[in-house]
Symmetry: C2
Subunit: 605 residues, 2 copies
C-alpha cells in the first residue's frame, strides 16, 4: 500500500460544515470562486498528489539528495515531477494574483497543501519555502525586486529559501553573525555561513533566490540589528536572463533521520569578495519581515503534520484490513480474521483517525479566519479574525506536529514487526514526522509564543472569545437530548473548563513569575490543541447528527453520505472518550507542576 489518496470526503465535509467555503465565497474579491471550481481543484490536486508525487516519496527516501562537487542532485524523477508541478500551475495556486498567481483562498490552498504533504513531504517542502520567500518579497520588496523575482518564483521557474540559522544561532536569532557590507552601487556584499537551509541547493530549477538575515556595519546588537537581503544563486541581468554565478556555495548537505528527499544545505556566502545581495525593505527590520514569513511557514508546518497523519492512517488501515492473524476475541468461530477485528487495533486506528480529523478541522477553521482577516469588509471583524489566527498558529504548528509523531508511531505499531522493516513504508512517515515539531520553531518555542504574545499579552481576551464559542457548542450539543451528543458535550465541557483554568493560571503567572508560566507552556499548548480539536469534532458531530436526522425525515438526497456521517459521529465520540480526557493530566502539569520543574539545581540533573 504505497498510494496516497486525498481524503476528499472529509475535506468536503469540513468545507461544508466546519469552515464553510461559502463564507470565503462571500468575501470581496472572490466573485470568481465557485463551489464546483473549488471542488475541481481538489480533485485535480488529488490526482497530481496520488499519481505523480506519492510514488516518488519512497524514491526520495531511499536515494536521498546527493551533494557532488558543490552541486546538489535530487532523486530520480524529482526534476521531472517538479517541472510538471510548475507547468501545471500548482506552485502559483495560492500566490498573489498581481504577479501571476491564482490567489486561491487560504482555506482551499491549505487542503491542497495537505495533499502535497501527505503524498510527499520532502517534495512539498520546496514549494512551501518558495511561497514563504514570495510572501516576504511581496510584502517588503521594492517594485524592482518584485518585478525581477516574483513572476519567476510564482511560476515555479525559480525557487526560494529562508536563511536564518547559523551554527551558533538556532532558535536565538539575536546571535546571527552574517555580515552585509554596503557598496557604492546600492548592493551589499554578504558574508557568512548558514545551516539547515531547506532546498538551499538543488537541480530542480536554474536559479534559487535566497533570502538571508545579516547585519550591516554598525547595526544595533541583538535582533534589532538584523536586516533581510535577497541573494540569488545566479545574478539576474537587466533583461531577466541569468548572469554570473553569485558567491554562494553549498558546502555540504546533512545526513538526516528523515525527509531524505529534501536537501538540507550548509550555505557559505562570500568566501572571497562577498556574495552580491540587495536589502529587502528597511534596514534592521529583517526580523519583523522574517516573522511574517515564519508565521505563514509555521501554519504550513502544522499542515505537514496533518498530511503525514493522513498518510500513516491510510497505510495502517489498509494493512489492518488485509493482514489476517488470530481469531476474534469472544467469537465462537475459530476462523482467522483480519487484524482490524482486534479491539486494540481498532483503538489504534481510531486514535489515528480521530486525531487526524480533529487536526484538519482546526487548521481549516484557522485558514478560513486567515481569509476573513485579509478581506472581510468589516474592519472589526478583520482584526478579531487576525487575533484568532495569531493565537492559533502556534497551536496548529505545535499540536499538529507533536500529534504527527504520535500518530505515525501508531501507524508503525499497527504493522507489528513489519512496521520496523523499511520496505513496508510506515517507518518513513514516522521518521519524516520527527522534524516537524523541531523546524520553524520547536514546540517549546511555539508554546512560549503562545503563552506570552498570544495569551498573556492581551490578558486572555482573544482566547476567552474562543472559549465562549466552545461553550456555545456545548450548549448546542445538549439541546436535543441525544445521548451520543450529550456524552460528547460533557467531555467537551470538561475540556473547556480545564482550558479556562489553565488560561487564568497563565495570565496570572506570566507577570508574576514568567519562569513558572514557561514551565507549563508545552503542556498548556497540548491541552489547548486537544480542546480545540474536541471543539471541532463536537461541531462535526452536531452536523453529522443533523444530516442523519434530516435524512430520516425526508429520505433526502445525501443518502450516499450517511455512512460517512455515522462514522463521523462515532469518531467524535471516540475523541471525546479517549483523547479529550488527557486534558486533566495536562492541566495538573500546567497549574501545579512548575515548582518541580524549577526546583532541581542544574548540577543535580
Amino acid at each position: 500500500m504505497n498510494d496516497y489518496i486525498a481524503p476528499l470526503r472529509d475535506m468536503r465535509f469540513v468545507l461544508r460544515h466546519l469552515a464553510p467555503l461559502a463564507e470565503v465565497m462571500a468575501l470581496p474579491g472572490q466573485a470568481d470562486l465557485h463551489a464546483d471550481v473549488a471542488d475541481a481543484i481538489l480533485e485535480e490536486a488529488n490526482k497530481f498528489a496520488s499519481e505523480v508525487l506519492s510514488p516518488l516519496n519512497v524514491v526520495g527516501d531511499r536515494e536521498g539528495a546527493h551533494w557532488l562537487d558543490g552541486q546538489v542532485h535530487t532523486a530520480t524523477g524529482w526534476r521531472q515531477a517538479y517541472t510538471q508541478f510548475s507547468e501545471g500551475g500548482w506552485n502559483a495556486l495560492s500566490c498573489p494574483s498581481a504577479h501571476g498567481g491564482q490567489g486561491l483562498p487560504r482555506l482551499l490552498s491549505a487542503l491542497v497543501e495537505e495533499m502535497w504533504n501527505g503524498a510527499n513531504l520532502s517534495f512539498a517542502l520546496c514549494g512551501m519555502l518558495t511561497r514563504g520567500a514570495i510572501e516576504a518579497l511581496e510584502l517588503c520588496g521594492s517594485p524592482q525586486q518584485k518585478a525581477i523575482y516574483l513572476p519567476k518564483m510564482i511560476s515555479g521557474e525559480w525557487t526560494g529559501t529562508m536563511n536564518l540559522t547559523e551554527p551558533q544561532a538556532g532558535s536565538d536569532l539575536a546571535a546571527v553573525r552574517a555580515r552585509a557590507l554596503p557598496q557604492p552601487d546600492g548592493s551589499y556584499r554578504v558574508f557568512g555561513q548558514k545551516i539547515f537551509i531547506t532546498y538551499g541547493d538543488h537541480d530542480l530549477t536554474d536559479n534559487i533566490v535566497h533570502l538571508v538575515l545579516a547585519r550591516m556595519p554598525g547595526a544595533p546588537e541583538g535582533v534589532k540589528g538584523i536586516s533581510l537581503f535577497v541573494v540569488p544563486k545566479f545574478l539576474v541581468n537587466a533583461d531577466g536572463s541569468l548572469g554570473a554565478r553569485n558567491e554562494v556555495r553549498c558546502v555540504s548537505i546533512e545526513h538526516k533521520l528523515g525527509i531524505h528527499g529534501s536537501p538540507t544545505a550548509v550555505l557559505s556566502f562570500g568566501d572571497e569578495q562577498g556574495a552580491t545581495g540587495w536589502l529587502v525593505g528597511e534596514a534592521h527590520h529583517g526580523l519583523a519581515y522574517m516573522f511574517i514569513m515564519m508565521n505563514a511557514a509555521r501554519f504550513s508546518v502544522g499542515i505537514e503534520g496533518i498530511g503525514l497523519c493522513e498518510r500513516a492512517y491510510q497505510r495502517a488501515l489498509a494493512y489492518a484490513r488485509d493482514r489476517v492473524q488470530g481469531t476474534e476475541a469472544g467469537a465462537s468461530s475459530r476462523d482467522k480474521v483480519a487484524i482490524i477485528r482486534h479491539p486494540d487495533v481498532r483503538r489504534m486506528l481510531l486514535q489515528m483517525k480521530s486525531r487526524t480529523e480533529a487536526l484538519r478541522a482546526v487548521a481549516c477553521v484557522v485558514a478560513l479566519a486567515m481569509d476573513e482577516a485579509q478581506s472581510h469588509p468589516d474592519e472589526a471583524c478583520r482584526l478579531q479574525r487576525q487575533a484568532f489566527v495569531e493565537l492559533m498558529i502556534p497551536v496548529v504548528k505545535g499540536w499538529s506536529t507533536e500529534t504527527a509523531v504520535q500518530v505515525t508511531s501508531l501507524g508503525v505499531q499497527v504493522h507489528g514487526g513489519m512496521g520496523f522493516i523499511e520496505e513496508t513504508g510506515a517507518a518513513q512517515h514516522w521518521r519524516d514526522a520527527r522534524i516537524t515539531p523541531i523546524y520553524e520553531g520547536t514546540t517549546g518555542i511555539q508554546a512560549a509564543d503562545l503563552i506570552g504574545r498570544k495569551v498573556a499579552r492581551d490578558e486572555g481576551a482573544t482566547v476567552r472569545r474562543v472559549i465562549d464559542d466552545m461553550r456555545g457548542v456545548v450548549q448546542a450539543l445538549n439541546e436535543g437530548d441525544d445521548p451520543e451528543l450529550s456524552a460528547i458535550a460533557s467531555s467537551l465541557a470538561q475540556g473547556v473548563a480545564a482550558l479556562d483554568v489553565a488560561v487564568q493560571y497563565i495570565v496570572d503567572q506570566y507577570s508574576k513569575d514568567v519562569r513558572e508560566a514557561l514551565a507549563g507552556a508545552v503542556p498548556f499548548l497540548a491541552l489547548f490543541g486537544i480542546v480545540a480539536g474536541g471543539w471541532q469534532m463536537a461541531r462535526a458531530a452536531l452536523a453529522a447528527r443533523q444530516a442523519l436526522d434530516r435524512d430520516q425525515c425526508t429520505n433526502g438526497e445525501a443518502a450516499a453520505d450517511l455512512p460517512f456521517m455515522q462514522s463521523k459521529l462515532h469518531t467524535a465520540r471516540f475523541y471525546a472518550d479517549h483523547v479529550m480526557p488527557e486534558v486533566s493530566g495536562l492541566l495538573h502539569g500546567v497549574t501545579r507542576g512548575a515548582q518541580a520543574v524549577l526546583a532541581l539545581s542544574d548540577e543535580l540533573f
Copy 2:
C-alpha cells in the same frame, strides 16, 4: 557526547533502598554473594559497557550487518568485542552454575543487562537471545542435549536463537507451519521458513544453536500441536567438535528502521533433505516451553527500554549543559545561557529522568521477586512472589518500551535541529527504541496477557495485594507531615484509586464482554505502569527524606550522597506532578471508552 556511563549511583540506591540486595543475599544458596563483590561486578560491567560496547554502538548503526553469499558479517570491531565479552565471562554471568555459569541473582544481572542495552542494544541482543535458548534447554532439554550445548552456549562460544515467527504467523503461533519429520535414528528432518530471527546468522562464533517451533506429522491443529526442536547450524560430533553444515540457510537479512548492528534473518530450514534437528522436551509442548523463554525475554526487552532511556537522557543532558542559546527568562542579565536554564528544556529532561528512574526501580523490584520466587525457603512466599512476577512482566515489557519511545523522542527534541542530524546520535536511540514495543509480543499482546491471564484469571487477587502495598506507602508518606511527601502521597493515592477502579472494571468486564475489556487493555497497562512507577518513586522519596533527616541529626557519613538524595526527592515530586496525573485520562479510556472503540463498523474506518 558518545559515551555511555552506567548510572551506578542510582543503581546502588535501588539496591540499597528499593530492591534490597541484602534480601537476595539472605536467600539460600547466596552465601558467596557479598555486597562488595556485587559492587565490583557493577563497576567492571560499567567499564566494559562504556569502554568496549558503547563506542561500537554508532559503528553498528552506520555499517549495519551485511549479508553476502548466505553468510552474515557483523560490523567492524564486533567480533573482537564479542570475543572479549565471552572471555571476560560476561555471557555466563546470569547462567545456571551447573553448566559453567556464574548464577548471578536476577536482581544484579538485570542491572548489568541494562548497561549492555544502554551501551549498545544491537550488541546486547545476541547474548539476550542466547540466554533465552540456554534457559529453554536447561529446563526442557535431555541430559545429552544439555551436555552438548549448554557449556559452549554459556561460555559464549556458541550463540542461540529463537525461531517462532513465520510470514503468516507473527503474533499468532497457532498458524505455525514448519514441519518436523521423525527419522529412525530419533532425529527429525525440519522444513520451513522462519522470519525475524535475531542473530539468525552472524560471524561472531563458529556455531549457532537454533531453537525452532515446528509441527510433527499428525500433530493437533493450533498451538497444541507445536513442538520445540534444537537445530544447530553445524552438527556436533560425539567428541564435541563441529561436524557437517546443517541444512539451515540464511536467505536474507532485513533492512530495518533501527538496531542496524543486529542482523534480523530470514532462515530457510531444509531446502532439500531437511535440516537435522532433535526434539526438545515432550512432543506438542513447544508453546509452553517457548513461553518460559518468552517470559524471560519479555522482561529483558523491558530492560532494553530502560537502557535506551538512560542513554538518551545522558546524551540530552550533556547537550543541554553544553549548548548555549538565548537568555534566561525573567533574569535581568542578557547573557546567553546553556539551554538547561530554559524551563521547557528542564521539563523535558525531568520527564526523561523521572520516568527512567521509575522504570528502573520497578524492574528491579520485579527482579528481586524473581530471585525470591526461585529460592525463598517459604513455599507460600515463593508462590506469591511468582504470581507477582507474572503479573508484572507484561507491565515491565509494555510500559518500559512504550516509555522508551517517548523518552528517546524527548532526547531528540532537546537537541533541536541537531537532533534530526544522524551524526548527533540522539536519533539512533529513538530508531532503536521503536522495535521494543513490537518484538517479543507487541504492547497489545502484553496488555491482553495482563488483563486476561494476570488480572481477570485470579479475579484481581494478585494485583490487589500490590494495591495494598501501594496504600501502605501512601500511609507512610503521610506520617511525617512533610509537605513534599504529602504532595507525593496525594498524587500516589489518586493513582492507586484509579488503578483499583480499573482493576474492578477489567475483572467484571472480562467475563461479561471480553471485547470491551480488550478495548481498554493498552490504556490499562499504561495506567498500571505509571502507578507502579509512582509507587516506587514514592518509596524512593521516603528513603531520600530519611537519609536527609538522618544527616541533619547526625552529620552522618553519607554526606556525599546528600545531593543525590535531594535530587531523588525532587525527581519523585516531578513524577507525582507531571507523570502520575496522566492516569485520570487513561482510566476514562479503560472504563468508558470501549463503546467508541467497538461501535464503528469495519468499512466505516
